[in-house]
Amino acid sequence: MSDTMEALYQQRLQRYVTALRNGKPDRVPVRPLAAEFVATYAGYTCQEITQDYNKAFDAVRKCASDFQWDACVGNMVYVWTALTQAMGLKYYASPGVEISADTAFQYIEPPEHAAHMLPEEYDALIEDPTAFLFNTWFPRVSNDVDAPGEAVTFRHNMALVKGGMSMLQYFGALGQQNARLRAECGTPPAIGGMLKAPMDIIADKLRGYMGLTNDLLTIPDKVMAASQALVPHLTHMAVTLSGADPERNVPVAFWMHRGCVPFVKQEHFDAIYWPTLKQVIEGIWSHGLQTLFYAEGDWTAHLEAFAELPEKSIVFHLDQSDPVETQRILGKKFCITGGVPNALLAYGSEDEVRAKCKELIDLCAPDGGYCMDASAIMQNDSKPENVRAMTDFTIEYGKY
Protein backbone atom coordinates (compact mmCIF):
# COMPACT_ATOMS: atom_id res chain seq x y z
CA MET A 1 0.00 0.00 0.00
CA SER A 2 1.38 3.39 -0.94
CA ASP A 3 1.80 6.06 1.71
CA THR A 4 -0.31 8.37 -0.46
CA MET A 5 -3.20 5.95 -0.61
CA GLU A 6 -3.07 5.27 3.12
CA ALA A 7 -3.02 9.02 3.82
CA LEU A 8 -6.06 9.42 1.59
CA TYR A 9 -7.80 6.56 3.42
CA GLN A 10 -7.11 8.14 6.79
CA GLN A 11 -8.28 11.55 5.60
CA ARG A 12 -11.54 10.12 4.30
CA LEU A 13 -12.09 7.95 7.35
CA GLN A 14 -11.62 10.97 9.60
CA ARG A 15 -14.05 12.99 7.47
CA TYR A 16 -16.65 10.25 7.42
CA VAL A 17 -16.43 9.30 11.10
CA THR A 18 -16.53 12.93 12.19
CA ALA A 19 -19.78 13.41 10.28
CA LEU A 20 -21.21 10.11 11.59
CA ARG A 21 -20.63 11.35 15.15
CA ASN A 22 -22.56 14.50 14.20
CA GLY A 23 -19.39 16.56 14.08
CA LYS A 24 -18.08 19.05 11.54
CA PRO A 25 -15.44 17.62 9.19
CA ASP A 26 -13.50 19.56 6.54
CA ARG A 27 -16.36 18.98 4.11
CA VAL A 28 -19.54 16.96 3.64
CA PRO A 29 -18.56 13.31 2.96
CA VAL A 30 -19.93 11.54 -0.11
CA ARG A 31 -21.02 8.03 0.83
CA PRO A 32 -23.27 6.47 -1.81
CA LEU A 33 -24.76 3.07 -1.13
CA ALA A 34 -24.20 2.05 -4.74
CA ALA A 35 -25.68 -1.31 -5.69
CA GLU A 36 -26.40 -2.28 -9.31
CA PHE A 37 -25.29 1.19 -10.38
CA VAL A 38 -21.72 -0.07 -10.22
CA ALA A 39 -22.57 -2.64 -12.90
CA THR A 40 -23.98 0.03 -15.20
CA TYR A 41 -20.90 2.16 -14.71
CA ALA A 42 -18.34 -0.64 -15.09
CA GLY A 43 -20.04 -2.28 -18.08
CA TYR A 44 -21.44 -5.41 -16.46
CA THR A 45 -24.94 -6.85 -16.41
CA CYS A 46 -26.84 -7.36 -13.20
CA GLN A 47 -26.40 -11.08 -13.75
CA GLU A 48 -22.63 -10.78 -13.95
CA ILE A 49 -22.21 -8.88 -10.70
CA THR A 50 -24.84 -10.88 -8.80
CA GLN A 51 -23.54 -14.30 -9.87
CA ASP A 52 -19.82 -13.47 -9.89
CA TYR A 53 -18.84 -11.42 -6.86
CA ASN A 54 -15.38 -10.74 -8.23
CA LYS A 55 -16.99 -8.66 -10.98
CA ALA A 56 -19.07 -6.84 -8.37
CA PHE A 57 -15.95 -6.13 -6.32
CA ASP A 58 -14.12 -4.94 -9.43
CA ALA A 59 -17.02 -2.61 -10.33
CA VAL A 60 -17.11 -1.15 -6.80
CA ARG A 61 -13.37 -0.44 -6.85
CA LYS A 62 -13.71 1.20 -10.27
CA CYS A 63 -16.46 3.49 -8.97
CA ALA A 64 -14.57 4.25 -5.76
CA SER A 65 -11.50 5.29 -7.74
CA ASP A 66 -13.25 7.17 -10.51
CA PHE A 67 -15.75 9.07 -8.35
CA GLN A 68 -13.43 9.53 -5.36
CA TRP A 69 -16.12 8.64 -2.84
CA ASP A 70 -15.32 9.09 0.84
CA ALA A 71 -16.77 5.71 1.80
CA CYS A 72 -18.57 2.87 0.06
CA VAL A 73 -19.82 -0.67 0.62
CA GLY A 74 -17.58 -3.45 -0.66
CA ASN A 75 -20.54 -5.07 -2.38
CA MET A 76 -23.87 -3.33 -1.97
CA VAL A 77 -25.55 -5.86 -4.25
CA TYR A 78 -24.65 -8.13 -1.37
CA VAL A 79 -26.67 -11.22 -2.26
CA TRP A 80 -24.29 -13.54 -4.08
CA THR A 81 -26.81 -15.74 -5.81
CA ALA A 82 -24.40 -18.65 -6.24
CA LEU A 83 -24.48 -18.90 -2.45
CA THR A 84 -28.26 -18.77 -2.23
CA GLN A 85 -28.49 -21.38 -5.01
CA ALA A 86 -26.02 -23.60 -3.15
CA MET A 87 -28.45 -23.63 -0.24
CA GLY A 88 -31.45 -24.09 -2.50
CA LEU A 89 -33.14 -20.91 -1.20
CA LYS A 90 -36.56 -20.46 -2.76
CA TYR A 91 -37.13 -16.77 -2.17
CA TYR A 92 -34.73 -15.18 -4.64
CA ALA A 93 -35.22 -14.46 -8.30
CA SER A 94 -31.75 -14.26 -9.81
CA PRO A 95 -30.85 -12.03 -12.74
CA GLY A 96 -30.29 -14.10 -15.85
CA VAL A 97 -32.10 -17.08 -14.34
CA GLU A 98 -35.67 -16.36 -13.24
CA ILE A 99 -35.56 -12.71 -14.39
CA SER A 100 -33.76 -10.83 -17.13
CA ALA A 101 -30.01 -10.41 -16.92
CA ASP A 102 -30.36 -6.65 -16.55
CA THR A 103 -32.81 -6.67 -13.64
CA ALA A 104 -31.64 -6.47 -10.04
CA PHE A 105 -32.21 -9.63 -7.98
CA GLN A 106 -35.67 -9.81 -6.46
CA TYR A 107 -36.97 -11.11 -3.17
CA ILE A 108 -40.10 -13.24 -3.59
CA GLU A 109 -42.47 -12.98 -0.66
CA PRO A 110 -44.63 -16.09 -0.52
CA PRO A 111 -48.43 -15.86 -0.45
CA GLU A 112 -49.97 -15.85 3.01
CA HIS A 113 -50.97 -19.51 2.91
CA ALA A 114 -47.39 -20.53 2.09
CA ALA A 115 -45.61 -18.36 4.67
CA HIS A 116 -42.22 -19.54 5.92
CA MET A 117 -43.62 -19.71 9.46
CA LEU A 118 -47.14 -20.71 10.45
CA PRO A 119 -49.06 -18.70 13.06
CA GLU A 120 -49.14 -21.71 15.39
CA GLU A 121 -45.34 -21.88 15.30
CA TYR A 122 -44.73 -18.66 17.24
CA ASP A 123 -44.17 -20.59 20.48
CA ALA A 124 -41.42 -22.71 18.95
CA LEU A 125 -39.67 -19.60 17.68
CA ILE A 126 -40.03 -17.89 21.03
CA GLU A 127 -38.78 -20.87 23.01
CA ASP A 128 -35.62 -21.46 20.99
CA PRO A 129 -35.06 -19.21 17.94
CA THR A 130 -31.84 -20.87 16.77
CA ALA A 131 -33.30 -24.38 16.84
CA PHE A 132 -36.45 -23.15 15.12
CA LEU A 133 -34.41 -21.64 12.33
CA PHE A 134 -32.43 -24.84 11.77
CA ASN A 135 -35.23 -27.34 12.23
CA THR A 136 -38.27 -25.64 10.76
CA TRP A 137 -37.47 -22.44 8.89
CA PHE A 138 -34.40 -23.52 6.90
CA PRO A 139 -35.97 -26.71 5.50
CA ARG A 140 -39.02 -24.68 4.55
CA VAL A 141 -37.15 -21.96 2.65
CA SER A 142 -34.80 -24.38 0.91
CA ASN A 143 -35.62 -26.72 -1.95
CA ASP A 144 -32.89 -29.08 -0.78
CA VAL A 145 -32.66 -29.06 3.03
CA ASP A 146 -34.72 -31.72 4.80
CA ALA A 147 -36.44 -31.25 8.15
CA PRO A 148 -35.61 -33.48 11.15
CA GLY A 149 -37.42 -36.77 10.73
CA GLU A 150 -37.43 -36.62 6.94
CA ALA A 151 -35.20 -38.91 4.90
CA VAL A 152 -31.83 -37.25 4.47
CA THR A 153 -30.91 -36.88 0.82
CA PHE A 154 -27.71 -36.28 -1.09
CA ARG A 155 -29.01 -32.82 -2.03
CA HIS A 156 -29.66 -32.07 1.64
CA ASN A 157 -26.07 -32.91 2.53
CA MET A 158 -24.75 -30.89 -0.38
CA ALA A 159 -26.88 -27.86 0.50
CA LEU A 160 -25.47 -27.73 4.01
CA VAL A 161 -21.86 -28.31 3.00
CA LYS A 162 -21.93 -26.01 -0.02
CA GLY A 163 -23.94 -23.38 1.84
CA GLY A 164 -21.52 -23.27 4.76
CA MET A 165 -18.40 -23.31 2.65
CA SER A 166 -19.64 -20.73 0.17
CA MET A 167 -20.64 -18.40 3.02
CA LEU A 168 -17.16 -18.65 4.51
CA GLN A 169 -15.65 -18.06 1.08
CA TYR A 170 -17.82 -15.00 0.45
CA PHE A 171 -17.25 -13.34 3.80
CA GLY A 172 -13.52 -13.98 3.48
CA ALA A 173 -13.58 -12.38 0.05
CA LEU A 174 -15.49 -9.37 1.41
CA GLY A 175 -12.70 -8.83 3.92
CA GLN A 176 -10.16 -8.93 1.10
CA GLN A 177 -12.30 -6.50 -0.89
CA ASN A 178 -12.24 -4.00 1.96
CA ALA A 179 -8.46 -4.38 2.15
CA ARG A 180 -8.18 -3.72 -1.60
CA LEU A 181 -10.49 -0.71 -1.37
CA ARG A 182 -8.16 0.68 1.28
CA ALA A 183 -4.90 -0.13 -0.51
CA GLU A 184 -5.89 0.60 -4.11
CA CYS A 185 -8.57 3.30 -3.76
CA GLY A 186 -8.04 4.81 -0.31
CA THR A 187 -11.72 4.20 0.43
CA PRO A 188 -13.06 3.27 3.89
CA PRO A 189 -16.04 0.96 4.38
CA ALA A 190 -19.42 2.69 4.71
CA ILE A 191 -20.97 0.17 7.09
CA GLY A 192 -19.94 -2.73 9.29
CA GLY A 193 -22.75 -5.15 8.49
CA MET A 194 -26.48 -5.29 7.88
CA LEU A 195 -29.31 -6.31 10.19
CA LYS A 196 -33.05 -5.72 10.58
CA ALA A 197 -35.49 -4.77 13.29
CA PRO A 198 -37.13 -7.74 15.05
CA MET A 199 -40.59 -7.08 13.61
CA ASP A 200 -39.18 -6.55 10.11
CA ILE A 201 -37.57 -9.99 10.34
CA ILE A 202 -40.93 -11.51 11.20
CA ALA A 203 -42.49 -9.78 8.19
CA ASP A 204 -39.66 -10.33 5.72
CA LYS A 205 -38.55 -13.88 6.42
CA LEU A 206 -41.05 -15.61 8.66
CA ARG A 207 -44.72 -14.66 8.46
CA GLY A 208 -44.72 -12.35 5.43
CA TYR A 209 -46.16 -8.86 5.59
CA MET A 210 -49.79 -10.00 5.27
CA GLY A 211 -49.30 -12.68 7.89
CA LEU A 212 -47.64 -10.26 10.29
CA THR A 213 -50.33 -7.61 9.98
CA ASN A 214 -53.02 -10.23 10.63
CA ASP A 215 -51.07 -11.45 13.64
CA LEU A 216 -50.80 -7.91 14.99
CA LEU A 217 -54.58 -7.81 15.13
CA THR A 218 -55.25 -11.34 16.33
CA ILE A 219 -52.21 -12.45 18.37
CA PRO A 220 -50.21 -9.30 19.21
CA ASP A 221 -48.79 -10.86 22.37
CA LYS A 222 -47.15 -13.58 20.27
CA VAL A 223 -45.66 -11.01 17.90
CA MET A 224 -44.29 -9.10 20.88
CA ALA A 225 -42.86 -12.22 22.50
CA ALA A 226 -41.25 -13.31 19.23
CA SER A 227 -39.76 -9.85 18.71
CA GLN A 228 -38.39 -9.97 22.25
CA ALA A 229 -36.91 -13.41 21.61
CA LEU A 230 -34.98 -12.04 18.62
CA VAL A 231 -33.49 -9.06 20.51
CA PRO A 232 -30.50 -10.80 22.18
CA HIS A 233 -29.61 -12.59 18.95
CA LEU A 234 -29.62 -9.37 16.92
CA THR A 235 -27.48 -7.64 19.51
CA HIS A 236 -25.07 -10.58 19.48
CA MET A 237 -24.91 -10.57 15.67
CA ALA A 238 -24.21 -6.84 15.55
CA VAL A 239 -21.37 -7.11 18.04
CA THR A 240 -19.98 -10.13 16.18
CA LEU A 241 -20.11 -8.26 12.87
CA SER A 242 -18.12 -5.46 14.43
CA GLY A 243 -15.15 -7.84 14.54
CA ALA A 244 -14.46 -6.70 10.97
CA ASP A 245 -14.20 -3.12 12.28
CA PRO A 246 -12.40 -3.50 15.62
CA GLU A 247 -12.14 0.25 16.16
CA ARG A 248 -15.91 0.47 15.65
CA ASN A 249 -15.65 3.43 13.33
CA VAL A 250 -18.59 2.71 11.06
CA PRO A 251 -22.19 1.83 11.85
CA VAL A 252 -24.09 -1.41 11.51
CA ALA A 253 -26.94 -0.78 9.07
CA PHE A 254 -30.52 -1.71 9.91
CA TRP A 255 -32.80 -2.10 6.91
CA MET A 256 -36.08 -0.66 8.15
CA HIS A 257 -38.76 -1.74 5.73
CA ARG A 258 -42.34 -1.93 6.87
CA GLY A 259 -42.51 -1.00 10.51
CA CYS A 260 -43.76 2.54 9.93
CA VAL A 261 -47.23 3.99 9.50
CA PRO A 262 -49.12 3.16 7.30
CA PHE A 263 -47.60 -0.31 6.91
CA VAL A 264 -48.52 -0.87 10.56
CA LYS A 265 -50.72 1.06 12.97
CA GLN A 266 -49.12 3.65 15.22
CA GLU A 267 -50.15 1.57 18.24
CA HIS A 268 -48.24 -1.44 16.92
CA PHE A 269 -45.19 0.69 16.24
CA ASP A 270 -45.42 2.09 19.78
CA ALA A 271 -46.10 -1.23 21.49
CA ILE A 272 -43.94 -3.69 19.55
CA TYR A 273 -41.78 -2.39 16.71
CA TRP A 274 -40.12 0.44 18.54
CA PRO A 275 -39.57 -1.01 22.05
CA THR A 276 -37.87 -4.10 20.66
CA LEU A 277 -35.78 -2.23 18.09
CA LYS A 278 -34.81 0.27 20.76
CA GLN A 279 -33.53 -2.52 23.00
CA VAL A 280 -31.29 -3.74 20.18
CA ILE A 281 -29.97 -0.26 19.39
CA GLU A 282 -29.23 0.49 23.04
CA GLY A 283 -27.56 -2.90 23.42
CA ILE A 284 -25.37 -2.26 20.40
CA TRP A 285 -24.55 1.26 21.57
CA SER A 286 -23.45 -0.09 24.96
CA HIS A 287 -20.66 -1.79 22.98
CA GLY A 288 -19.71 1.50 21.35
CA LEU A 289 -21.32 0.67 18.02
CA GLN A 290 -23.49 3.08 16.04
CA THR A 291 -26.51 1.99 14.05
CA LEU A 292 -27.43 3.35 10.63
CA PHE A 293 -31.22 3.60 10.42
CA TYR A 294 -31.70 2.85 6.75
CA ALA A 295 -35.24 4.14 6.98
CA GLU A 296 -36.87 3.17 3.70
CA GLY A 297 -40.11 5.02 3.05
CA ASP A 298 -41.56 7.79 5.18
CA TRP A 299 -40.76 7.63 8.92
CA THR A 300 -41.81 11.19 9.75
CA ALA A 301 -44.49 9.94 12.16
CA HIS A 302 -41.82 8.23 14.26
CA LEU A 303 -39.04 10.79 14.43
CA GLU A 304 -39.95 11.83 17.97
CA ALA A 305 -39.53 8.23 19.10
CA PHE A 306 -36.08 8.02 17.52
CA ALA A 307 -35.12 11.23 19.31
CA GLU A 308 -35.35 9.28 22.60
CA LEU A 309 -32.14 7.41 21.74
CA PRO A 310 -28.77 8.38 23.21
CA GLU A 311 -26.98 11.16 21.36
CA LYS A 312 -24.88 9.90 18.41
CA SER A 313 -26.09 6.33 18.86
CA ILE A 314 -27.69 6.27 15.41
CA VAL A 315 -27.28 7.75 11.95
CA PHE A 316 -30.60 8.46 10.26
CA HIS A 317 -30.89 7.86 6.53
CA LEU A 318 -33.38 10.02 4.68
CA ASP A 319 -35.54 8.33 2.09
CA GLN A 320 -39.03 9.80 1.94
CA SER A 321 -39.15 11.17 5.48
CA ASP A 322 -39.69 14.93 5.61
CA PRO A 323 -36.18 16.43 5.47
CA VAL A 324 -37.16 19.61 7.35
CA GLU A 325 -38.83 17.70 10.17
CA THR A 326 -35.99 15.18 10.26
CA GLN A 327 -33.41 17.91 10.66
CA ARG A 328 -35.52 19.73 13.25
CA ILE A 329 -36.21 16.69 15.40
CA LEU A 330 -33.07 14.60 14.94
CA GLY A 331 -30.42 16.94 13.54
CA LYS A 332 -29.04 18.15 16.86
CA LYS A 333 -28.47 14.63 18.21
CA PHE A 334 -27.68 12.51 15.16
CA CYS A 335 -25.98 12.53 11.80
CA ILE A 336 -28.32 12.46 8.79
CA THR A 337 -27.46 10.86 5.44
CA GLY A 338 -29.03 10.62 2.01
CA GLY A 339 -32.08 12.39 0.65
CA VAL A 340 -31.35 12.70 -3.09
CA PRO A 341 -34.39 11.03 -4.71
CA ASN A 342 -33.52 8.00 -6.80
CA ALA A 343 -36.04 9.10 -9.40
CA LEU A 344 -34.06 12.30 -9.80
CA LEU A 345 -30.85 10.34 -10.30
CA ALA A 346 -32.63 8.20 -12.89
CA TYR A 347 -34.70 10.75 -14.78
CA GLY A 348 -33.60 14.24 -13.72
CA SER A 349 -30.99 16.54 -15.19
CA GLU A 350 -27.57 17.26 -13.72
CA ASP A 351 -28.71 20.77 -12.79
CA GLU A 352 -31.70 19.36 -10.92
CA VAL A 353 -29.41 16.99 -9.04
CA ARG A 354 -27.07 19.82 -8.08
CA ALA A 355 -30.01 21.92 -6.91
CA LYS A 356 -31.26 19.09 -4.69
CA CYS A 357 -27.80 18.54 -3.25
CA LYS A 358 -27.54 22.25 -2.42
CA GLU A 359 -30.92 22.14 -0.72
CA LEU A 360 -29.89 19.14 1.41
CA ILE A 361 -26.50 20.56 2.38
CA ASP A 362 -28.03 23.93 3.29
CA LEU A 363 -30.69 22.22 5.40
CA CYS A 364 -28.89 19.28 7.02
CA ALA A 365 -25.22 20.22 7.05
CA PRO A 366 -24.82 23.75 8.42
CA ASP A 367 -22.66 22.48 11.28
CA GLY A 368 -21.62 19.05 9.99
CA GLY A 369 -23.45 15.86 10.78
CA TYR A 370 -24.51 15.04 7.23
CA CYS A 371 -23.32 12.64 4.49
CA MET A 372 -24.40 12.96 0.87
CA ASP A 373 -26.17 9.95 -0.62
CA ALA A 374 -29.20 8.93 -2.62
CA SER A 375 -32.48 8.23 -0.84
CA ALA A 376 -32.18 4.49 -1.42
CA ILE A 377 -29.53 2.18 -2.78
CA MET A 378 -28.54 3.22 -6.29
CA GLN A 379 -29.58 0.57 -8.77
CA ASN A 380 -28.96 0.31 -12.48
CA ASP A 381 -31.35 3.13 -13.35
CA SER A 382 -29.15 5.84 -11.81
CA LYS A 383 -27.49 7.81 -14.60
CA PRO A 384 -23.69 8.04 -14.25
CA GLU A 385 -23.69 11.74 -15.17
CA ASN A 386 -26.14 12.44 -12.34
CA VAL A 387 -24.11 10.44 -9.84
CA ARG A 388 -21.09 12.41 -11.03
CA ALA A 389 -23.01 15.68 -10.53
CA MET A 390 -24.04 14.64 -6.98
CA THR A 391 -20.47 13.71 -6.11
CA ASP A 392 -18.63 16.66 -7.65
CA PHE A 393 -21.09 19.26 -6.44
CA THR A 394 -20.79 18.00 -2.85
CA ILE A 395 -17.00 17.91 -2.98
CA GLU A 396 -17.02 21.55 -4.11
CA TYR A 397 -20.03 23.08 -2.32
CA GLY A 398 -19.79 20.94 0.82
CA LYS A 399 -16.51 22.46 2.05
CA TYR A 400 -16.59 24.10 5.48
Partner: protein, 62 residues
Protein backbone atom coordinates in the same frame (compact mmCIF):
# COMPACT_ATOMS: atom_id res chain seq x y z
CA UNK B 1 -31.72 -40.65 15.00
CA UNK B 2 -29.71 -39.84 18.11
CA UNK B 3 -30.92 -37.23 20.53
CA UNK B 4 -28.16 -34.74 19.89
CA UNK B 5 -29.19 -34.34 16.22
CA UNK B 6 -32.54 -32.84 17.17
CA UNK B 7 -31.72 -29.58 18.91
CA UNK B 8 -35.30 -28.59 19.65
CA UNK B 9 -35.67 -31.66 21.88
CA UNK B 10 -32.23 -31.34 23.42
CA UNK B 11 -31.59 -29.96 26.90
CA UNK B 12 -30.40 -26.77 25.26
CA UNK B 13 -33.79 -25.17 24.65
CA UNK B 14 -33.46 -21.41 25.10
CA UNK B 15 -29.87 -21.69 24.00
CA UNK B 16 -27.87 -18.50 24.34
CA UNK B 17 -26.92 -16.25 21.42
CA UNK B 18 -23.83 -17.59 19.69
CA UNK B 19 -24.55 -21.19 20.71
CA UNK B 20 -26.01 -24.16 18.83
CA UNK B 21 -24.82 -27.17 20.83
CA UNK B 22 -23.58 -25.96 24.24
CA UNK B 23 -20.30 -27.33 25.53
CA UNK B 24 -22.08 -28.63 28.62
CA UNK B 25 -24.18 -30.86 26.38
CA UNK B 26 -21.25 -31.98 24.25
CA UNK B 27 -19.07 -32.60 27.30
CA UNK B 28 -21.35 -35.41 28.44
CA UNK B 29 -20.30 -37.44 25.39
CA UNK B 30 -16.73 -37.72 26.69
CA UNK B 31 -16.38 -40.05 29.68
CA UNK B 32 -13.00 -38.50 30.41
CA UNK B 33 -10.83 -35.89 28.74
CA UNK B 34 -7.21 -36.94 29.07
CA UNK B 35 -5.62 -33.57 28.35
CA UNK B 36 -6.55 -29.93 28.79
CA UNK B 37 -10.34 -29.66 28.80
CA UNK B 38 -10.19 -25.90 28.32
CA UNK B 39 -8.67 -26.34 24.85
CA UNK B 40 -11.38 -28.78 23.82
CA UNK B 41 -14.08 -26.47 25.19
CA UNK B 42 -12.72 -23.36 23.48
CA UNK B 43 -12.32 -24.99 20.08
CA UNK B 44 -15.77 -26.59 20.36
CA UNK B 45 -17.35 -23.25 21.12
CA UNK B 46 -15.47 -21.44 18.33
CA UNK B 47 -16.65 -23.96 15.74
CA UNK B 48 -20.13 -24.08 17.22
CA UNK B 49 -20.40 -20.32 16.80
CA UNK B 50 -19.82 -20.75 13.04
CA UNK B 51 -22.97 -22.84 12.79
CA UNK B 52 -24.85 -20.16 14.71
CA UNK B 53 -23.55 -17.44 12.40
CA UNK B 54 -24.48 -19.54 9.38
CA UNK B 55 -28.17 -19.84 10.23
CA UNK B 56 -28.56 -16.29 11.51
CA UNK B 57 -26.84 -14.89 8.43
CA UNK B 58 -29.23 -16.95 6.34
CA UNK B 59 -32.10 -15.24 8.14
CA UNK B 60 -30.67 -11.73 8.29
CA UNK B 61 -28.36 -11.34 5.31
CA UNK B 62 -29.54 -13.67 2.56
Amino acid sequence: MSEHTTPSSSPAANRAPGVCVPWEEKRQEFPKIMGDEAIVKRTWEENDQLAYLFIWHCLLSF
